[in-house]
Each structure stands twice: as structure tokens, then as C-alpha cells.
Subunit: 648 residues, 2 copies
């Protein structure tokens, strides 16, 4: 419809796609028109001003020293880093190293100033583009929820939207109509520094701690040994197939690096499928716990294997390297979680010591800072940030959360959820877009074998380990549950980001990145999309003793319905089934840790909290009623509600 | 106390400084000890693992190709950008430009992979350090509020904390104990892309629209002509002093660029002082409105003047250049605010069209996206993002806010406030730290003359323009108010960021950056710190007709006390004093725009909103009571409260 008007811009096209997909949303023709007109205004603005900006760019191009200027700061920052290292190595020197560094820095800043303006403009537009894609994905998610089309998981829908946007950009840019190079927009560094921490923190923060720790042993077995088995199966299989010249050949360490990066089940993708399924809480927790912990395992494993490729490791034997790897892994695991727990305890003590309840802005700000600090510290010192932030989330929701004012509890939880949701959506949209935007190097046999090995690896992980775990468990894992666990081994963004991260020769890397992308998309689309039919089949066989719960693949709806905090009820219920050490910890926790780390809330404070919330709620009613008065609708009804509320 | 234990780490030292400053916070000795122990654990972790990471870095250094590898991606990205431009210029070509770009990109990604790991580690640590500084500043702010030490504005306190941290780092790094190069951490690009948008959006969102638009004419006069006068006085003065060889010589355009960047009164600094003073609403709005709008004026003016230095502008006469500048400015102003308003209206229509109330995560996410989109778009096409985001904030708080669910209204407002607060704190802390961390080139006479010219420029701006404005105003600006307006001309972060941004030869740039920093600190510390005594003197003279309001320089406390939305009451009150066109717009707004852009809230929806809020509040009470039950305190009291609330 827009092509006929000669506005062949990507925005308009994508919008048209979106609107045509609405279907069930009818009637609001007026608003729809406004939406279109306004988007056209924005598109026109881009076109109109791009003439101006083009002239600027041409001017910059015409400058002969332009290339030098753009590259100079980079060179200087290299020099700067070298200088930094020189300073570091010269730890015993008595010369003042500052002068060198300062001079180099100032030279660097000097040269940077010119390119800042252009860089800023470029970054702004990139951010604008990302936000626009995000907005489309959010609306798609919303439409999925309201049309109750539950057979398509949200994550898959977002991947598809991303794919469509990527495809449209590809078509338009091949016809030279736009030049959005979104491949630049999402380097792995951004993924690991900005996207991943909120997702993991949020899953830690909203974790059902009772079930998680009651099953901690089993989860740990699946996460650590399961991932190891899967990594060995995939890595070994890929290596042997390469030697046998059946698939693309990789050397031993490369094979195992690939095996370990592809072995992690993705929490984002898995949660999206599992959170709403009619499975019992234990099975849900097993799959969720495994997916959260094995990210860390996979990241650590991949990095450990890649670290073995260093020259100084070349002369050690396989067994030594293996034990070195195990030691490294254990150290990582322990130190990272220690940082996370220490930082969470610090946050709890800080909130107990400084009463920030009167100033919600300060409280929320400090809470946000404490949610990121463990990641920054752990990554900064070379440990696993994901592990640190997961444990920080778990511990903070148990202690720190209790020290917050009610308004902050709500805001912080909503904010964490929203940020995690946005980060997840970003990831899936990018996965979809990268189908078209990246340069791919497809080795069909390699990809097919890798998929087969992934499925076999997960089977060899789930079934034997379940068998073993059942020997020790009171609550056994049934064969059907095992089958679901095997089937739901979705790979996701973390595997993809890790594959972008690995350092190999160009061609091999491209093959691996492409293979990873295809495997991720395969598991998302087929295993993720196939979960619903599978559940239907399994449910048909099952005698329906429980009250029928509507199957729902929307994670967001589930999250949005009620804002649930960590309820103590269910934790208490679980105590009888848990092992003695867990219940021991829980009584210890009730006796010493909770009183010591959390603030005692006096009746006075409860009253203040109630007043604070009542003020907020009342204000909303008053605003609504004022508007309704002018609109002359249901006035009396509202007045009753307000008076009913303001006298609690 | 830590030095004796040989832990001469910066973290511990800063902590010690913080704790010794607590003074009035006593008794919690146990928690304090835990705080120290935990921080020591973190410090130890850094020390322990830094050995490991050092070896990694040494290994990387030992690689001969390391330097090449680090610089290669940069070179490649330059090539990439060039390729991009080639593609752009070749708009009529029939060759498929994608292939080139893709090949170059993949080559670039190939080479980047190795340096990613180190870059990530470095960035993580930088983020950790920034967050740590922020946390200290937040606690300082909190201590300022609870100790009721109102004579020190929060912004000044944060600058001082920043200065202390910067000084400690300087001392430690000169003794070669740490190497935190925070000068890298805050490039102007980050300031303009991350720090500034939330501050300006928040001030637009929480603006008192009635007073703002009632005084819009006067505000615009101060913001545009006032800033122009000040820029001319400072610029002309600096140029003439340079010609007369009294101060550091700058050429004409450089002088005026400096004049315009230093002329903008900073909203962040001004708000921190003004928001809690016992001045009437009109004066407050005049100063606030001026400070918000003249940022945009100053940024546009500076960029326009710098644009005139381009070669193609060299052959035009002064008058043509002047009119070109005026035209450019008007276009900027109109187009930027149009983008902001269009985007806000789009957001309002989107929220009306798609009912996201059931899924707060989606709602909040979309709201956050819409708050940034105008900035990204405007900056991306070369317009003023600050202007766009200001108007978007104003319009969104008027229309979009009404379409949100109560929980989202609260969360979004708290989140905007918190993010803006964190951004402001970042800015002031950085200003403080840059006293020590940057390389300074102080020209004493230049700085002194510049300060004098700033004061004179502001006097020549405020007094004549107030005289002129009073001719048209019903509500006159009294001489005392004019004096306060003159005195409160604080310069802030925007001026400093602009000075880092300008492109000049190295020495001149350093002189200007240093001068700007000193002027900013001078106005913050002396004018900002002197406001309280000045107000006391003025208040002593004044007959105390009004009920005495406690003087309070804490902006955060003011913000935190009540969460205020845009109340209709005061807007209605103002109608009688406003000019006819404003009241005309307001009736138009009530009749057409509000019904058309906002959703009609049915009694059903109000009940749902009430239920949603009640659920949240109840849950909090239940949690609190459960804890209290185990602690056996005030049980009955709480039970009464809960039952009282759950039956509204």
C-alpha cells in the first residue's frame, strides 16, 4: 500500500507488514491513520534532513586528512594501552609514569574531537533503529498475547519479525534504497556487557529459591556433568567426523570449544517455552535451573578450552591439561559465586544501615547499581560475571528485597523484568536479523551432523543422569519428564554470542558461526515450536486428574498477570521433601541470617508504607475521576471507589 | 586505619573516608564491621585474581602481532566506513554493493575477535569503578539528607566527593599503587548519548506545564535572546581582550564558540539549587524554563558557529553568515521540536490503540523506548536531540501518561526519576574527578576575565530583558527576583561536555576545556554554595507574610517525598493569569486533543486498576506480617492493618 505512494522506505514497509498482520484489531481506523501519518512524517524528516547530512559527509570525505583523523584516535588508544602496560610492568620503577600517560591521552582526545560528531550521529541513528525494531517486536508480542495465538512462542515470533526486518533491509539495500548496517550494531561485547547481565540477574531475582535449592544437587549434576557429556559428545563427534572426512575438519581443541559452546541450553529460550507449560514445579525447576547454571558452565568451559590453545600450554600433556581445566573451572565457579554472594550481602547490609526508604530515587538507584556491580567486578578480574550476577540475584531477592520500601520493591521488580524482557527481545530480534545481515558460510553436512550430535549429546546427558539422580531422589524424574527435558534442549543467544567471540582463523570461524546460528534457529523453531503439539499428545495419553490449566506459551503474559515476589509459603511446603542440609540451612537462615541482614519493620514503618502506597493509589483514582468528570461518565461509581479506598 | 593493615587500596581508603564522615550514624557497629570485611573480600579478590590476569596480559604482550591485532579492527572499520560511503556516493550504480561491504565486515569481525576479550575485561572494570563511585555519591547524598545539612547543595557535595576520589586516585597512581584511568571512562559521546537524554526527558516529563506555557514567551526571550546576549558579551569580550593582548588570544569564531558554550545556564545545577527555595512559582519556572531551553540554544549556537569555520563558508560575508546562522537555528528549533511532538503523539496513539495494561513489562518497555526514540532520531538526522526529547517529555506527560495502567505510571515515573538522578550524579562526580584526572592548561588571566565576562554577560541579559518583559507581563519580575536570577546563573555539565567536543588545535582546546571546568566549578561552588546565605539575607529583609517553609537545598528529598504527577488543579488555577492563546489551546485541548489522544477509562478498568494495586499492596503487607510473625512483634497490629486493607 505504501509502494504505490512511492514511499518505499523500510519503516513504512515494516509498518505495513505489522498492520496487515493485525487482523483482529479492527475499528480504530482514525487512530490507525494518525499512526501512519505520523510515521510518514518521521520518514519524511529522515529523507529531508538526510540531504543536509549527506552534504556534511561529502564535505568530510573531501578532506584529505579524514581517514587519518578517524584512525588516529584508535592508533593513539593502542599506544595508550601500551603505555598503560609499560607502567604496569614497571611496578618497581621510581619514575612518575603519569606524565607519559597524560600526554598520550591528551593527544588522543585531541585527535578524537573531530570524529566524535560523526560517531555520535551514527550511534544515535543506530540506537534509533534498534529501538524501532524493539518497538515492533513488543507490539508483535502484544498482538500474540491478545489474539491468544498460543501455538507460537513469543521468542519464535520475535525471531520471525527480526528475520522479516532483516530480509526487507537486505532487499532494500540491494536495491540501494537504504543503508542500515545493523551488523555493526550488536557486537558480542555489547551482548556480554549490556544484554546478558539483566537477563541472568532477573532470573536469579525471581527464582523460586525453595525449589531451586531443594533440587540444587540434581540441577548441578545436569548443569555441570550434563553439559560436559554433551560437550564431549558433540566435540568428539565433530572431531572424529572431521578426521573421517565426513564433515568439515576441525582440530581437537576447536571441536571441543564448539562442542562446549553449543551444549548450553539457553535460559531465555527455555523459559519462554517452559514457564507456562502444565508440568510440575520440580520438572520446571530442573530445566530452568539447568539452563541458568549451564550458561556459566558453557562459557567457562569454552574459555578454558580456548585458553589451552595458548603457546605456554602447548607442551603440557592431555591429562595435565584436563586437570588444569578442571581446577580452573572449580576456581572460577567458587570465586565467581563468592563475589556475587559477597556483593549481595554487602547490599543487604547497606540497605539495613542506611535507611533510604524516604527517598525512593536513591533506593532504586542503589539497587540498580548493586545489581550490576558483581558482574562488572567478576568480569573485570577475569571471572564469570554470569555466575556472580546469578548468585547476587538469588541472595539479593532473599535478603536485600526485604529492606526496601514497598514502592521500591514494586518499581525495582518491574524495572528488572522490563529490562530483562527488552534484552531478551533484542537478542531474538538480532538472531532473526542475522539470518540475512551476516555473511554466511554454510557447510551443509557439518550443520546436519552437528544438529544430530546435539540431539544425541542431550539424550546421553538427560537419560543416564536422570537414572543416576533417581537413585538419590525422593521425587523421581519420570520417563515422560525425561523426554520433555530432552526435547526442550533449546540453544539460544549465549551460544551465538560465544561463537562470535571465539578466536580462530577466518573461514573456520565463519563456518562455526553459521552452524551455531542454524542450530539455534532450528532448536528455537522446531523444538520450541514443536513443544505445543508434543504436550498435546502427551496430555492426551495422560489421565486428567488435575484441573485443566490452559496451555499458554506466552512468557510475558505469565509475568505480567501478577507481580509475584518470593513467597515463603511454597518454600515451607517444600521443606518436608528436601534433604536435611537444606532444611538445616533454612532454620539457620531464619534464626540468624535473616534477622541479622534484614531490617526489623516496625508497625510505624508499616503504617508509613501503607500511607505511601495509599497516596499513590488515591492520586491515580483522583486523576482518573477528574478526567471522567469532564467526560461525564460513571462519575458516581468512581466517587464510591475513591471514598472506599481513601478510608481503609 | 587501612594503611596500617597494608591494604593500601583505593576502595578501602575511599570507604574509610566515607565512614569517617558518617559521624552521626552510630550504633550499628556490627553491620559496619561486616561492610568493611566484605569490601576487604572484594579488594582481596581483585588483588588475588589480578596476578592471574596480569599473566594473561603479559602473555598477550609477548605476542609480536598483538599491536597489529588491536589496531587492525580499527583500520578495518575505517575501511568499512569508506566502503559505506563509496556505496552511498555510487547511488546510480548497478553493481551490487553488498558484497564489498560484507567482505570487509567479515574481515573486520575476524580481526576483532581477539581484542574483544581484553576490551570486555577493561570495560567491565570501568563500569564497576563508575558504579562504585556512584554508590558512594548516593550514600553521601543520603547522609546529607538525613543529617539535614542543608547549607551544602547535593550537587556540590557530589562534586566534592568526586574531587576527593579523583585526588586519592591521583596520589595512589603517582605512587604506582593503582591504575584507574577514569579519564577514558567518560567521553563526550557517552555524555550526549547516555547521560543527557534522561535528564532532559525527565525535566520535561515532570514539568509544570501550566506555569511553563503561561510564561513561555518570557522564557523563550530569556533562553534565546538572553543566551545570545551572553554569548556576544563573552565572545566579544574574549576576542577584544585577546586582540588587546590582555588575555589568551582566540580568533573571532573561536571566541564566539566559547562564548556560546559557556552561556548556557545548566538545568541540572540550577534545579538542584532552585527546586527547594522559598521563591514563587513564576520565578522558579522562569529560571527552570530558561535553563532547559537555553541548553538547546547553546548547543545549536556552538555547532552553528563551528559549522561556519568550514571552508565553503569562508567566502561568505559576515551578514550572510549571520542570517545563515539564524535560519539554521530556526530550522533546528522547529524541526527538532516537531520530531519530539510527533513522536510523543505517536506514543499516545500507540498506547490508545494497543491496550498493554495487562502486561506491565511490555508497557514499561514501550514507554522507555518512546522516551529515547526522539533523541536518537533527531541526533541521527543532525537535529537537536535535547530539544526533541524535551518536547517529547512535555507532550508525553500530558497525553501518553493518561493511557498507562496505574502500576506503569508509578514505575515509569520512578524509573525516569532514578535514571535522571543517576545521570546527574555521574555528571557531578565526573566534574569533581576531572579536577585531578585531566591534563590542565591554566591561563589565569583568561579564566579570571572569562568569569568576569560571564557575570557581566548574565547581568546584561537578565536586567534589560526583565525590563522589556515586564512591559508585557501582568505578573512583573521584581528587582529582587532579577537579582536572584542573575546570581543563580550556574554553569554545568553541558558546557563542559561541549568544550570537550569542540574541534580546535590542541593547545587552544586544552585552555578552553580547563577554563570551562574552572568556571563550572566556580559557579557551582560559589554561586551555588552562596545561594543559601543570599536567600537568608534577602529573607531577613522581606516581611514574612507566608508561612515559613524550611529552606532545603536537597533536590532529591523534595523529589522523593511525594510522587507527584501532573496535577490538573494548578493548571486550571493559572488559566486566569495566562494569555488568551494559551487558554484557547487549553480549551481546544480539553475538547479535542485529550479525548482523541487518550483512552476513555471505564469503571471496569478502574476496578481492575484498583485490584492490581491492592494485590501489590496486600502482598507487601502479607510478607511483612509473615516476617513479623516469626519475629513475634506487633503481630496483632499488623493483622489489623492487613485485614483493613484487603476489604476496601
Amino acid at each position: 500500500m505504501f509502494r504505490s505512494k512511492e514511499f518505499s522506505s523500510v519503516l513504512a514497509l515494516v509498518l505495513a507488514l505489522q498492520l496487515s498482520g493485525q487482523g483482529k484489531m479492527a475499528t480504530f481506523q482514525l487512530e490507525k491513520t494518525v499512526l501512519l501519518v505520523l510515521l510518514l512524517v518521521q520518514v519524511c524528516a529522515i529523507h529531508a534532513v538526510s540531504a543536509d547530512s549527506d552534504s556534511l559527509e561529502k564535505y568530510v570525505d573531501s578532506l584529505p586528512e579524514k581517514n587519518e583523523l578517524t584512525s588516529t584516535p584508535n592508533k593513539h588508544s593502542t599506544i595508550f594501552k601500551d603505555a598503560e602496560k609499560l607502567v604496569k610492568e614497571d611496578t618497581n620503577g621510581t619514575t612518575a609514569p603519569n606524565t607519559t600517560v597524560t600526554v598520550v591521552t591528551s593527544a588522543a582526545t585531541e585527535a578524537t574531537s573531530k570524529s566524535h560528531q560523526l560517531e555520535e550521529k551514527h550511534s544515535s541513528f543506530t540506537i534509533f533503529f534498534i529501538l524501532l525494531v524493539l518497538a515492533f517486536c513488543i507490539i508483535t508480542t502484544h498482538l500474540l498475547i491478545i489474539t491468544k495465538f498460543h501455538y507460537l512462542p513469543e521468542s519464535v515470533a520475535v525471531v520471525i519479525v527480526g528475520g522479516i526486518i532483516g530480509g526487507v533491509i537486505k532487499i532494500l539495500s540491494s536495491h540501494d534504497l537504504v543503508d542500515l548496517h545493523e551488523e555493526e550494531a550488536f557486537p558480542p561485547t555489547i551482548f556480554f556487557l549490556v544484554i546478558l547481565p539483566p537477563i541472568i540477574f532477573e532470573s536469579g531475582y525471581n527464582l523460586h529459591k525453595g525449589n531451586f535449592f531443594a533440587n540444587f544437587g540434581t540441577i548441578l549434576i545436569f548443569a555441570v556433568f550434563g553439559t560436559l557429556i554433551s560437550a564431549c559428545v558433540v566435540g568428539g563427534g565433530i572431531y572424529l567426523l572431521g578426521v573421517a572426512k565426513v564433515a568439515y575438519p576441525l582440530d581437537l581443541l576447536e571441536s571441543f570449544a564448539f562442542g562446549s559452546l553449543i551444549s548450553a541450553v539457553d535460559p531465555v529460550a527455555t523459559l519462554a517455552i517452559f514457564q507456562a507449560l502444565d508440568v510440575d514445579a520440580i520438572l520446571y525447576m530442573l530445566v530452568f535451573g539447568e539452563s541458568v547454571l549451564n550458561d556459566a558452565v558453557s562459557i567457562v568451559l569454552t574459555n578454558t578450552i580456548l585458553a589451552m590453545r595458548r603457546p605456554e600450554m602447548a607442551d603440557v600433556s592431555g591429562a595435565v591439561a584436563f586437570f588444569h581445566g578442571v581446577g580452573h573451572f572449580c576456581l572460577m565457579f567458587a570465586a565467581s559465586s563468592a563475589i556475587g554472594i559477597a556483593s549481595a550481602v554487602l547490599s543487604s547490609v547497606t540497605f539495613k544501615l542506611f535507611d533510604l526508604r524516604k527517598t525512593p530515587s536513591l533506593e532504586i538507584a542503589l539497587m540498580l547499581i548493586f545489581s550490576y556491580i558483581p558482574y562488572g567486578l567478576a568480569e573485570g578480574v577475569g571471572l564469570s560475571g554470569i555466575m556472580a550476577v546469578l548468585f547476587a540475584g538469588i541472595v539479593m531477592s532473599h535478603y536485600t528485597h526485604r529492606n526496601l520500601s514497598p514502592i521500591t520493591q514494586i518499581t525495582v521488580q518491574q524495572t528488572f523484568r522490563t529490562v530483562a524482557f527488552m534484552a531478551e527481545t533484542c537478542v531474538f530480534a538480532y538472531l532473526g536479523m542475522s539470518i540475512f545481515s551476516m555473511y554466511h558460510h554454510v557447510k551443509v553436512s557439518f550443520v546436519l551432523w552437528a544438529i544430530a550430535l546435539c540431539l544425541v549429546g542431550r539424550a546421553l546427558n538427560i537419560f543416564p543422569l536422570s537414572f543416576m539422580a533417581n537413585k538419590f531422589r525422593i521425587h523421581k524424574i519420570t520417563p515422560k519428564q525425561q523426554f520433555i527435558m530432552w526435547f526442550s534442549g533449546l540453544r539460544g543467544a549465549i551460544a551465538f554470542a560465544l561463537s562470535l567471540h571465539i578466536d580462530m582463523e577466518k573461514e573456520k570461524r565463519q563456518v562455526l558461526v553459521t552452524a551455531t546460528l542454524i542450530i539455534v534457529l532450528f532448536t528455537l523453531l522446531f523444538l520450541g515450536g514443536g513443544t505445543m503439539p508434543l504436550m498435546t499428545i502427551l496430555n492426551r495419553k495422560k489421565t486428567r486428574t488435575k484441573k485443566k490449566k490452559e496451555l499458554n506459551l506466552s512468557k510475558t503474559k505469565e509475568m505480567g498477570d501478577t507481580v509475584e515476589t518470593t513467597s515463603e509459603h511454597t518454600e515451607a511446603e517444600e521443606i518436608r521433601t528436601v534433604k536435611p542440609h537444606v532444611s538445616k540451612f533454612m532454620s539457620l537462615d531464619q534464626k540468624y541470617l535473616i534477622p541479622w541482614l534484614t531490617r526489623i519493620i516496625t508497625a510505624q514503618e508499616v503504617r508509613e508504607g501503607q500511607r505511601q502506597m495509599a497516596t499513590l493509589t488515591d492520586k491515580w483514582y483522583k486523576e482518573v475521576s477528574q478526567r471522567s468528570t469532564t467526560e461525564e461518565s460513571e462519575e458516581d461509581d468512581l466517587q464510591t471507589l475513591i471514598s472506599g479506598n481513601s478510608e481503609p
